[in-house]
């Protein structure tokens, strides 16, 4: 009798512990078994696939690989305007070898979305500030309609960050907040002066990356809005602190940087080479963010940048790496009866 009571109590304890622990977390975990890699397959011909409207990045959200379990690589695949994605429509190659993978929709796994807006507040950006003021609530509502719990923050900058030097604002930046608070804050901003052509966007991005209260396991994005290139460390100005390569090692895999660039004296929408040290579009490209151009007046509508579609059409594909290479090339093929898209992500470290 005593033994039976003891066993019942112990079983009850186990059940309590398991029930308390189960299903109450945002920690990235494996939702399903990763199938074995396909064998005897060949890679599709890349020329048959379009390379736009597909964004691929590696998700490095920190977690722990338990004992006696192999590690998985998490690839984020964003296919704007694709509502339902089946694993059968995707093929993933790591270093030319096709991978077995499991696919899960990111917004169903991580419904928290934190977005920092890095806003150039020099004189020529008046229209962008007005546009941000007018569209911030609609932008947040569009994201929340998808079931996302959205926080927005704002970092205004010119040659300086926190505070910008050319305008006088009571709060030098707004930490991640409810959308209504963001609208109130953006209404206090105005455009002023500017000085030389470049501004200190890189410091603004890194300030947001380090100073914002990013929520654990939230999807993390930034939107940079500017018409100017960025100052960078080594360009001869004392207020610059970062080079692009330093920033990329901190950002890639952890945050997606989208950009809205006002064309004019620096940005040309037909450009494809973003390697200049002060060109932030390479950061967008390497973090798999969207690169969009405003009209020539810098008018910005946040709902029109494609970010809502990007976020709501993101999936995580997890596969087990068996490549001995130090850095990897990931290729993703998306094919349906009517659409074929392809993305290649090179020099990837896990």
């Amino acid at each position: 009798m005593k033994k039976n009571i003891r066993r019942s109590l112990e079983m009850f304890s186990v059940l309590i512990v398991i029930l308390v622990l189960y299903g109450c977390s945002n920690i990235p975990v494996v939702s399903s078994m990763i199938p074995p890699d396909p064998t005897g397959t060949t890679k599709p011909t890349v020329d048959d696939y379009a390379t736009d409207n597909i964004f691929v990045s590696i998700d490095k959200m920190p977690t722990l690989v338990p004992i006696a379990i192999s590690d998985s690589v998490n690839v984020r695949i964003s296919l704007p305007n694709v509502e339902n994605l089946e694993a059968a429509n995707i093929r993933i190659f790591e270093d030319n070898k096709e991978q077995g993978f499991v696919l899960r929709k990111e917004s169903e796994e991580r419904n928290k979305l934190d977005i920092a807006i890095i806003l150039d507040v020099t004189g020529s950006m008046a229209n962008a500030i007005t546009g941000a003021k007018n569209s911030i609530i609609a932008f947040a509502e569009a994201l929340e309609e998808s079931g996302l719990d959205v926080r927005l923050g704002v970092v205004p900058y010119d040659d300086y960050v926190n505070p910008p030097s050319d305008i006088d604002v009571a709060s030098p930046y707004l930490n991640l907040s409810e959308p209504d608070d963001v609208e109130t804050y953006v209404n206090t901003l105005y455009a002023g002066n500017g000085g030389d052509t470049p501004e200190n966007l890189y410091d603004g991005i890194m300030f947001a990356a380090t100073a914002m209260n990013w929520r654990p396991y939230a999807q993390r994005s930034m939107i940079v809005i500017t018409d100017a290139p960025s100052h960078y460390e080594g360009d001869g100005y004392s207020f610059t602190h970062f080079t692009k390569s330093e920033m990329l090692s901190e950002l890639v895999g952890y945050v997606t940087v989208h950009g809205a660039f006002a064309p004019g004296y620096y940005y040309v929408s037909s450009a494809t080479d973003f390697s200049a040290p002060g060109d932030p579009r390479e950061i967008c490209q390497r973090t798999s963010g969207i690169i969009k151009y405003t009209d020539s007046y810098g008018n910005v509508d946040l709902t029109d940048l494609g970010i809502v579609e990007y976020v709501t059409s993101s999936w995580i594909a997890a596969f087990e790496s068996d490549s001995p290479e130090a850095t990897h090339t990931i290729e993703v093929f998306y094919a349906t009866d009517s659409t074929k898209r392809y993305a290649k992500f090179q020099n990837v470290s896990y």
Partner: protein, 160 residues
């Protein structure tokens, strides 16, 4: 925090009611990532059915054992094991299974690593008072297929 207090309370009550073991352990994966690991366990391991709460922290190398900075440990693997033990004199032969749980220490957050995977182990414990044990573990699917990655552990502790 409430979850942690509840779990600790359950463990404490079970432990003082039915027996007690607290041990430190170290081990090594024999394939997969081939990581060494350290850990600790506390619970009621004894003959018959018993429960142990076990914590594991994988390292990148054995040299890292000396360099573990507790303040920088962000995640732990916490496995609530259900054991079946067979006592033979002062020796206990046991097998156990546990779901794999990840603890985010900084954010006090738990997650079941997978609903399709669990750990299974077999071991032998020697002694009473001061106990010594060796055991082997692997990861099984819910279809009882192993992932093919094994690990061995050894540990020392106090057992009643």
């Amino acid at each position: 925090m409430k979850r942690i207090i509840l779990i600790l309370l359950v463990i404490f009550l079970v432990s003082i009611s039915f027996g007690f073991e607290i041990s430190a352990l170290g081990g090594m994966e024999l394939s997969g990532k081939n990581r060494p690991y350290i850990g600790a366990r506390i619970g009621t391991l004894s003959g018959g059915v018993s429960l142990m709460l076990e914590a594991y922290y994988p390292l990148s190398s054995f040299e890292d054992v000396q360099n573990v900075n507790v303040d920088q440990v962000r995640f732990l693997e916490i496995d609530p094991y259900l054991y079946l033990g067979l006592p033979i004199s002062s020796t206990l032969i046991y097998v156990g299974v546990a779901p794999i749980v990840i603890l985010d220490i900084a954010n006090v957050d738990f997650a079941l690593y997978s609903s399709e995977l669990f750990h299974a182990k077999a071991g032998i414990r020697f002694g009473q008072g001061i106990v010594f044990f060796v055991e082997g573990l692997t990861t099984l699917t819910t279809s009882f297929e192993t992932l093919g990655i094994y690990a061995v552990s050894a540990g020392l502790g106090i057992g009643l």
